[in-house]
């Protein structure tokens, strides 16, 4: 377990209406009121497609809880941008499925419960293929 609380990353999924707006607003408001530092991004999908350098610094945090969507999607959004997450140091809090209290409980809990899907092969752990486009 990390001595420091895990970093927090909140995705607002700004360009789609797939997460209950009340859940998004409730989670963001509580993060704002928590006194904790955190990263808030408008849309992880857009950042992945653009290979936004922010993904690299977000992935490098020694322990991170990500409030976004499904863990499988989050894992490959980061990997396809060339910035794979550390499966042992990442917990994804799925705002598409969790209620606001359940999401906040996990985000603000002291412990980290890694839940990225396990890699099927060593080669896939970090790789989306090399960029040749």
């Amino acid at each position: 377990m990390n001595p420091e609380p895990a970093g927090l990353l909140y995705c607002n999924c700004t360009y789609a209406q797939i997460i209950d707006p009340a859940v998004k607003a409730g989670v963001l408001r509580r993060l704002c009121d928590s006194g904790r530092s955190f990263e808030a991004v408008a849309d992880l999908c857009e950042m992945s497609a653009r290979r936004d350098p922010a993904l690299q610094r977000l992935a490098r945090q020694p322990g991170v809880k990500i409030a976004a969507c499904y863990p499988r999607a989050v894992k490959w959004l980061f990997a396809s941008a060339g910035t794979p997450l550390d499966p042992a140091q990442t917990e994804v809090v799925n705002l598409r499925e969790l209620t606001e209290p359940a999401a906040l409980e996990r985000l603000l809990a002291a412990d980290l419960q890694p839940n990225l899907p396990a890699d099927k092969s060593p080669a896939s752990a970090t790789s989306a293929p090399s960029s040749s486009s």
Binding site: E4, P5, G7, L8, T14, Y15, I18, A25, L28, R29, C32, D33, S34, G35, R36, S37, F38, E39, A40, V41, A42, D43, L44, C45, E46, M47, A49, R50, D52, P53, A54, Q56, R57, L58, R60, Q61, P62, C69, Y70, P71, R72, A73, V74, W76, L77, A79, S80, R96, P117, D119, K120, S121, S124, S127, A128, P129, S130, S131, S132, S133
Partner: protein
Amino acid sequence: MSLRDQTHLRVVLYEGRDSQPLEGGQRFEILSRLLGQGFAVTRVGESGQTAPADDGPALVLGHFRAGAAEQLSAAAPERMRVAEVSGLSGEQVAAVVETTRTERQAVQPGAWKPWFPVIDYDRCTNCMQCLSFCLFGVYGADSGGKIQVQSHDNCKTNCPACSRVCPEAAIMFPKYKAGPINGAAVRDEDLQREKMKVDISALLGGDIYSMLRMRSERAQSRFSKERDSDKALQERQKCLTKLAQAGDIPAEVLMSLPSPEEILRRAGEARAKAQAALAAQQR
């Protein structure tokens, strides 16, 4: 300009040392507004870690003690700007950020709706069916012949058709409404993809795109002869809705399909790319 070849502005809402905390409502309003406009924000609070600094341009927002803002910006004058936001509304802060973004010629967030396939390489077998299927050049292969998404912005918004032809349910669209295409765990029943693919092909007569195009042209021809334009429009919408529901393909995509000759040309190109990639794997 490539999606990947742009400058990004980092916005920091600073409430650490040498600053005063914002009022809670203002903090939430500022964050909500900036996120709604597509910006990413690092909130530096009393505790907890944030992502490390990098070499890109940054705008630091906060309610600073006397002289602190000048000190902060002097640390990296080329890269960092500091703005006092006490008393400003979310809208006013957003205007400050937008001005800085424009001055720094940083990417304009939200200019493109991020809809594109994401490949689950734990599942992908590199069969190249997606590359062969897509007529819009979204897919390509890397130098080792491995499938990859290369032209994200060529993808047709809300169209998940390529995920329907993947036999391994390895293609996700995270903003899609349902699993497993949205990234939810893949269940055994989801692996009936081959069957689904056959069903779609049979429904549309084999070559999905050429059949869709022909149907669209037939519909256009028929409706152009209609005297009752309202009725024609209704019929057209009904026809397209049926197709869209059957194949999960948005009407906008059907309407923007290229000519039959162009479809053939693009399909040939896609097949050639797929074959070259498969050959590269075997070398």
